[in-house]
């Protein structure tokens, strides 16, 4: 008799259990969807991060190239200036010592002229590179800077 009276209780428990199981299943599905969303988000973040790193690397490479170019250009102008300075000092020394033939003076002045020409050529070359692709400089100024 007791068993019969227990049946509704068992049914009720079963019903509750089924309901909870369904809820768990629904939550699982929802969790799975959330996980998928998170994975997609992480993938997207990873991708963005990778692109950012690549962009930073390219930027650093460009900076390095620019620095190397600037160093080379400055060097190509600075060295002839130093050379002119050294040769003028030599010329002064020789003149003070009254120890220079016209050939010596000519040889030194020729070296100074060659270095001065080199400075002018290098600055013109630098101006050409700087103006390349720029449409903000008027034609006659462009000619003045690059010829």
């Amino acid at each position: 008799m007791k068993e019969l009276s227990d049946t509704p209780a068992i049914e009720s428990i079963q019903e509750k259990l089924d309901k909870k199981t369904k809820e768990v299943q629904e939550l699982s599905i929802e969790l799975e969807k959330t996980n998928e969303g998170l994975i997609a988000l992480y993938t997207e973040l990873d991708d963005a991060n990778r692109k950012l790193e690549e962009s930073n690397r390219k930027l650093q490479e460009e900076e390095k190239k620019l620095l190397a170019y600037l160093f080379e250009t400055v060097n190509k102008t600075k060295n002839p200036v130093l050379n002119i300075y050294r040769n003028l000092a030599l010329l002064e020394e020789m003149a003070v010592m009254e120890d220079c033939s016209p050939e010596d003076v000519k040889a030194i002045i020729d070296v100074i002229k060659a270095n001065a020409r080199m400075i002018s050529d290098n600055i013109t070359e630098l101006n050409k590179v700087a103006l390349d692709g720029s449409d903000k400089v008027l034609g006659h100024y462009r000619d003045f800077l690059t010829e």
Binding site: A68, F71, E72, N75, K76, K78, N79, P80, L82, N83, Y85, R86, N87, A89, L90, D99, E103, D104, K106, A107, I108, D110, V111, K113, A114, M118
Partner: protein, 185 residues
């Protein structure tokens, strides 16, 4: 600064860094020291015409007879000149192949000399005329030639006048780097 003879007893290839204003005198001074130590030399002059350098050496009572000049500046400044018995004129410091050929000729003519050195009066000036990669390759060839001929090499350069990365690369070719004008260097 130790005398060059002492430096070269520890190293075959030496890079000498000098200030721009003192470099010329340092070059002449070192040639004088090498002359006194019984060395014969091949001078690659990039900065100063060989005629002027010879005159400066004469003033220091240094005989140019033990020297062979590869003059890379006179030709560029005054136009091509005819070679002399111990001087080869290269049209420009940019003509690295011609400098290499001149060096071979100079070494052949100096091969019977017991103590031989090669001096470059300004490595940094070479960078005005050539791309860094070309100069690195050229200097590597030059240094190997010096070593193969059991000679010594002395390469002068102005301090801080070469890109630091390239400078480090060049320094790896040498046995020693000395700083001219600094005590204990």
């Amino acid at each position: 600064m130790p005398p060059i003879n002492e430096i070269l007893s520890d190293a075959d290839i030496v890079i000498a860094l000098a200030t721009s204003s003192a470099m010329r005198k340092d070059v002449i001074h070192r040639i004088g020291e090498l002359h006194s130590a019984g060395y014969s030399g091949i001078i690659i002059s990039i900065n100063e015409p060989s005629s002027i350098m010879k005159k400066s050496l004469e003033k220091q009572s240094i005989n140019s007879q033990n020297l062979f000049f590869i003059d890379c500046i006179t030709g560029m400044a005054t136009g091509q000149k005819k070679d002399e018995s111990a001087t080869i004129y290269v049209a420009s410091p940019g003509q690295l192949t011609n400098i290499g050929i001149a060096l071979t000729k100079a070494m052949t003519s100096m091969k019977d000399r017991e103590r031989l050195y090669l001096l470059v009066d300004s490595v940094n000036t070479m960078f005005v005329y050539n791309e860094p990669d070309q100069i690195i390759r050229f200097l590597h060839m030059l240094i190997n030639k010096v070593r193969l001929n059991s000679a010594k090499g002395l390469l002068f350069s102005v301090k801080n006048a070469i890109d630091p990365i390239i400078s480090t690369q060049i320094e790896t070719f040498a046995d020693m780097v000395i700083h001219q004008g600094e005590e204990g260097a």
